[in-house]
């Protein structure tokens, strides 16, 4: 176990180097967010009826929560680094040492996420503070307990999905196109662009059969109290099930990839 603490420490040091980049990324990311919020405010200003059950404050809270959950859970550089490790032959050393590559990457992911969150705290904190009049409180006791749990599951799910995708580098020369395509899908079907429950019900139900809502939309809707009772437990269960599925998939893909791996360079 000690060795993985070491990895986390290395992860802290490595990510701290990029703190300026993180700050810029978090800061710049707020510009389109603000634009989207203004756009919705104009839409609400022009009509009396709420959009799909959201009040204006509810809609703005939705986007603020998306930003918070995304800061806490999104995979930033990990997929690129994993793909590069495979392409450059860096994983050879992990095959020789008593260290598990998946655990190693998970440690790096968590240490990176902690640094990114701390750095983003300033711009995101100021932003949320400025819009605090629109920010609604968590929907209740259960929401308060289940929201952090669901956010943690979302972070792990994102990690295992990205990890599996990056392992395609064993077979493909260039994985960035695949990563960007998956990112676009996740962006839309995860609820980044708009809340999924303002879609026509049939479409929303179809999306719920995919893992995407569970990486972002589900934790946010837990906070907003849109799921309760049996639905809440079922949702958490499904989130955990997808997590296990992608964990097993990642392990299986890794085993096949290693067989194919020919340590170019290294």
């Amino acid at each position: 176990m000690r060795k993985y603490w070491h990895v986390i420490k290395i992860g802290f040091e490595n990510t701290l180097v990029y703190r300026v980049n993180f700050l810029l990324r978090a800061g710049f990311g707020l510009i389109p967010l603000l634009a989207t919020i203004y756009l919705w405010r104009t839409v609400y200003g022009g009509q009396a009826t709420p959009v799909g059950g959201y009040s204006l404050a509810g809609m703005i809270s939705y986007y603020l929560l998306v930003t918070i959950v995304d800061t806490l859970t999104a995979v930033n550089e990990d997929d690129w680094q994993i793909a590069a490790d495979i392409k450059d032959g860096n994983i050879s050393q992990f095959l020789l040492k008593p260290i598990n590559y998946l655990t190693y990457r998970l440690c790096l992911f968590f240490s990176g996420k902690i640094i990114f969150t701390v750095v983003s705290l300033v711009p995101v904190g100021i932003f949320v503070f400025c819009l605090r009049q629109y920010m609604v409180a968590p929907a209740g006791g259960w929401a308060l307990v289940c929201f952090p749990l669901s956010t943690l599951l979302a972070a792990l799910l994102q990690f295992f999905m990205s990890y599996t995708l990056a392992l395609l580098a064993f077979w493909l020369l260039e994985v960035s196109t695949v990563i960007f395509m998956a990112f676009a899908l996740e962006y839309l079907a995860g609820g980044h662009v708009f809340p999924l429950n303002i879609l026509p019900p049939a479409l929303e139900q179809a999306l719920n059969c995919t893992p995407f809502p569970y990486v972002l939309f589900f934790p946010v809707s837990v906070y907003l109290g849109q799921v309760h009772g049996a639905d809440l437990w079922r949702g958490l269960g499904l989130q955990a099930a997808w997590l296990v599925f992608f964990y097993l998939l990642a392990r299986a893909v890794w085993r096949r990839g290693i067989r194919k791996y020919s340590a170019a360079g290294g």
Partner: protein
């Protein structure tokens, strides 16, 4: 010793010849990775579709954003994508690679070449995929125009293209300005990617914004002009030539500022390599 007489070529022709050679290089390079070339086009199509989905979903719940109707906004998103893709085709990959040129010291070599360094740094590589993607943007604009029963005159189309050039000049100048920061710190590579946030503002209808946000993105960073003015020209929404002159003026102003900062940075540049 009789040296061969040096053939005098006019400056524009010399640069045109150089650009032709750079263009040929890019085509050869791209065709070396055909499947990758096609996959990148699919990636761009997906992100374009994503933006249109957002507009589609918003208009499921309302029939106007301020004064803009659905197909007007679709035309605007198309125009914005058209401008962005042409900018990407001609400039983007060059600007993204710039900090790498500084870090590796390759810039020093370019500074020694007997030509304008900014020209070389900005236009070295052509991204052909951008041209293909700009056609998809035109297709969406054409469809939106049909839904709106618009038949733009030849003058309008010509004006639209000129305004697009001004828009591309703004994107290029502002991003070049950000790129020049690499002279001062290589750490700030993320700045260039931050520019994508501005693209996101450029495709939204200007009437949705007011106050400081609108003023800032009109006069300081003129994102709300880049696509809105050309789109409004096609939509017959311009009542005076004011916005067009403003867009052209801002384009020139951005270019001049970026050139001044480039020269200032170059004077302070001490090579990266030992």
């Amino acid at each position: 010793m009789n040296a061969e007489p040096v053939k005098q070529i006019s400056l524009p022709r010399r640069y045109a010849a150089i650009y032709g050679a750079l263009w040929r290089n890019s085509v050869v390079r791209e065709m070396g990775f055909k499947s990758n070339f096609l996959l990148w086009i699919v990636v761009e199509l997906l992100w374009f579709a994503l933006q249109l989905c957002f507009i589609g979903v918003v208009y499921l719940h309302t029939d106007h954003i301020a004064t803009w109707t659905k197909w007007q906004v679709v035309l605007l998103v198309g125009a914005s994508h058209f401008i962005q893709q042409l900018f990407q085709a001609v400039f983007l990959s060059n600007l993204v690679q710039f900090s790498e040129l500084v870090r590796t010291g390759r810039l020093d070599f370019m500074l020694l070449l007997p030509m304008n360094t900014r020209f070389l740094v900005s236009l070295r590589v052509v991204d052909l995929g951008g041209f293909v993607n700009s056609i998809s943007a035109l297709a969406v604009m054409g469809y939106a125009a049909r839904q709106l029963h618009l038949t733009p005159s030849a003058g309008q189309v010509l004006g639209f293209l000129c305004l697009c050039v001004a828009g591309i000049l703004i994107h290029y100048s502002l991003m070049f300005l950000l790129t020049s920061v690499a002279f001062w710190t290589v750490r700030a590579q993320g700045i260039v990617w931050g520019y994508y946030s501005f693209f996101n503002v450029a495709r939204l209808p200007d009437a949705a914004f007011k106050g400081f946000f609108k003023a800032f993105f009109t006069f300081a960073i003129p994102m709300l002009l880049v696509a809105n003015v050309p789109a409004k020209l096609l939509l017959n929404q311009l009542r005076s030539p004011g916005p067009m002159l403003l867009l052209a003026g801002m384009g020139c102003a951005c270019f001049v500022i970026s050139e001044l900062f480039w020269r200032f940075s170059l004077r302070h540049y001490t090579s990266a390599s030992a």
